[in-house]
C-alpha cells in the first residue's frame, strides 16, 4: 500500500517539475499577402496541430483561427481591411502552454511588397532623405501632391510608431518620445509650408 503511494508522489513530482521546461514560442511575420506563423518548443521542435487564434488587439475579438501543420506552421491571409492596432497571434499548445506574438502595424503592409519578409524590420522605406539632398542642392522640386502626401504619411506613421506601440501596451508613454514625435510633426508641417511657399514663388 505504502509503496504505490510513494510511487504516485514521485511521478506527480517528476511530471510537475518538467512542465515549466515546456515553454512554447510563437512567431509571426508577413510574407507577401499572408501572415506566416511558426510555433515551436525552445529546443526547436515544432508545435504540431496546435490551435492558433488571431485577435484584433483593439477589440480583443478573435477574427480568425487555425491549426499548425506538421512543421508547426500556419499561413493565413493578411487581414483586410488592415487592423490599426496590429494583429495578435495566440498559440494554444495544450496543458496551459500558451504564447502570443503581436504583429505591430508597422510590421504589416496592406499592399504587399515583393520582398516583405526581408523588410519585416526594415519598416518603411526612406525616400524623403533623397528629397532633402535635392533641396540642399537647390534643384527644383519635382514632387506632385500625391507623392508629397505619401511621404508625409510615411514619416508621420514612422514617428508615431513608438507612441502606438506604447498605447498598445497600455503603458504610460515616455514624455521624451511624445515631445520627440510632436517635434517631428512640427518639423514636417514646416517643410510643407516652406515647399508651398516655394511653389507659389
Amino acid at each position: 500500500m505504502i509503496k504505490p503511494l510513494w510511487m504516485t508522489f514521485l511521478i506527480l513530482f517528476l511530471t510537475a517539475g518538467s512542465a515549466p521546461a515546456h515553454r512554447v514560442n510563437v512567431f509571426a511575420y508577413q510574407d507577401g499577402d499572408a501572415v506566416e506563423v511558426e510555433a515551436s518548443f525552445p529546443g526547436g521542435r515544432p508545435c504540431v496541430d496546435c490551435t492558433v487564434a488571431f485577435i484584433d488587439p483593439a477589440t480583443s475579438k478573435q477574427i480568425r483561427s487555425g491549426r499548425t501543420d506538421a512543421k508547426g506552421q500556419l499561413r493565413v491571409p493578411v487581414p483586410a481591411p488592415p487592423l490599426p492596432a496590429g494583429l495578435e497571434v495566440v498559440l494554444e499548445a495544450g496543458q496551459g502552454h500558451r504564447a502570443s506574438w503581436v504583429l505591430l502595424p508597422e510590421d504589416m503592409t496592406p499592399s504587399a511588397e515583393p520582398d516583405s519578409a526581408a523588410g519585416l524590420q526594415a519598416g518603411v522605406p526612406e525616400p524623403e532623405i533623397k528629397q532633402v539632398q535635392t533641396l540642399d542642392n537647390g534643384n527644383s522640386i519635382t514632387l506632385d501632391k500625391g507623392e508629397l502626401v505619401t511621404l508625409i504619411d510615411q514619416a508621420v506613421s514612422r514617428q508615431l510608431a513608438p507612441l502606438k506601440r506604447m498605447l498598445l501596451k497600455e503603458r504610460e508613454p515616455d514624455p521624451r518620445n511624445i515631445v520627440g514625435s510632436i517635434g517631428y510633426l512640427v518639423g514636417i508641417a514646416g517643410i510643407v509650408a516652406w515647399m508651398r511657399s516655394r511653389r507659389k514663388a
Binding site: N25, G43, V102, L120, Q121
Partner: protein, 262 residues
C-alpha cells in the same frame, strides 16, 4: 643573497601579474531580445573592464553574426563610438527571426610593448531572440574559442558558467582563463590589484567553471600562445597571444512587478 634572490623573483613575477587583463568586448544592451525590445545595441571595445581603462579599438578585421548555420558580416554597419574615453564601435542589430545570434569580433592585432607580443582576442557574445534558444552551444570553428557548456544567456547572478576552451578546434588542456567583471559604473573598488582579475584553470579537456557572483556582464578570456608570429613595430617577428573571449550577462533577481528594464 637570499633577499636579493627573493627580490629578483618578485620583480620577475610582476610582468606576469594578471592585474589589468586586456579584454576584447562585445556588450549588448539587450542580449535577450523580446517583443518589447525588438533590437539590440552592440558595443565593441577593447579595455580593462574592471578598472575601466579603455584602449583604442581600431576598426575590427571581422565582425560577424552567426545565425541558423549562416554567417553575415556586420562590419559595414559599425559606427564609431567612445567607450571609457577611447575609440570603440557600435551598431544596432534587429534580429528578424527567433533564434540564437552569435556575434564575433576579430580585432586587428594589438601590439603590447609591455608584454613584447601582439594580442588578438577573438571575442564573442551570444544573444537570444524571441524565446528560441536552439543551438546556444554551437561551436563556430574560430581560431580559438570558448564553447559554452552552460547556456550563455538568460542566467542570474550567482550562475555557474561552464565552458570549453578550444584552439584550432581542439580542447586546450589546462588552459588558463582570466575572468573579469565589467564595472561599467565604476561602482566597485578592488581590495588589491590581484582582485581585479580572477584566474581559473581548465581541466585536461579544456573545461572550466566559474560562478559569477554579481549581476551584469562577465568576461572570460582564455589566453594561449599563438602558433604563428607577427611583426612588431620595428619589423621583428614576435609572439602572438591568442585570446578566446566570451561575454555573458547575468540578470539581477527581481521581485514581482519590479522590472528594472521596463
Amino acid at each position: 643573497m637570499k633577499k636579493i634572490l627573493m627580490t629578483l623573483a618578485l620583480l620577475f613575477c610582476i610582468p606576469h601579474s594578471p592585474a589589468l587583463a586586456h579584454f576584447g568586448m562585445i556588450i549588448a544592451d539587450h542580449p535577450v531580445v523580446t517583443q518589447d525590445s525588438r533590437e539590440m545595441q552592440l558595443t565593441l571595445s577593447f579595455s580593462h573592464p574592471f578598472a575601466g581603462h579603455g584602449m583604442d579599438l581600431l576598426k575590427p578585421r571581422v565582425f560577424d553574426v552567426y545565425f541558423d548555420g549562416k554567417t553575415r558580416s556586420l562590419l559595414g554597419d559599425l559606427e564609431p563610438a567612445r567607450v571609457m574615453d577611447h575609440q570603440a564601435w557600435q551598431t544596432m542589430f534587429p534580429p528578424k527571426r527567433p533564434g540564437v545570434y552569435q556575434f564575433v569580433m576579430e580585432p586587428q592585432p594589438y601590439w603590447e610593448p609591455a608584454e613584447d607580443l601582439s594580442i588578438i582576442h577573438y571575442t564573442k557574445t551570444v544573444a537570444c531572440a524571441f524565446g528560441s534558444e536552439e543551438d546556444w552551444d554551437r561551436e563556430l570553428g574560430l581560431k580559438t574559442e570558448i564553447v559554452p557548456l552552460s547556456r550563455p544567456f538568460g542566467g542570474y547572478a550567482g550562475y555557474s558558467f561552464t565552458g570549453q576552451v578550444k584552439m584550432n578546434g581542439q580542447p586546450v588542456p589546462g588552459a588558463e582563463v582570466e575572468v573579469e567583471y565589467y564595472d561599467r559604473d565604476k561602482a566597485y573598488e578592488a581590495p588589491s590589484d590581484v582582485h581585479v582579475t580572477y584566474v581559473v584553470k581548465a581541466d585536461p579537456n579544456g573545461i572550466f567553471t566559474f560562478s559569477c557572483p554579481r549581476p551584469g556582464w562577465w568576461g572570460f578570456a582564455a589566453l594561449n600562445k599563438g602558433d604563428f608570429t607577427l611583426k612588431d613595430p620595428q619589423g621583428n617577428e614576435k609572439d602572438v597571444e591568442l585570446g578566446a573571449v566570451l561575454w555573458i550577462e547575468l540578470a539581477p533577481w527581481t521581485k514581482n512587478g519590479d522590472h528594472p528594464r521596463e
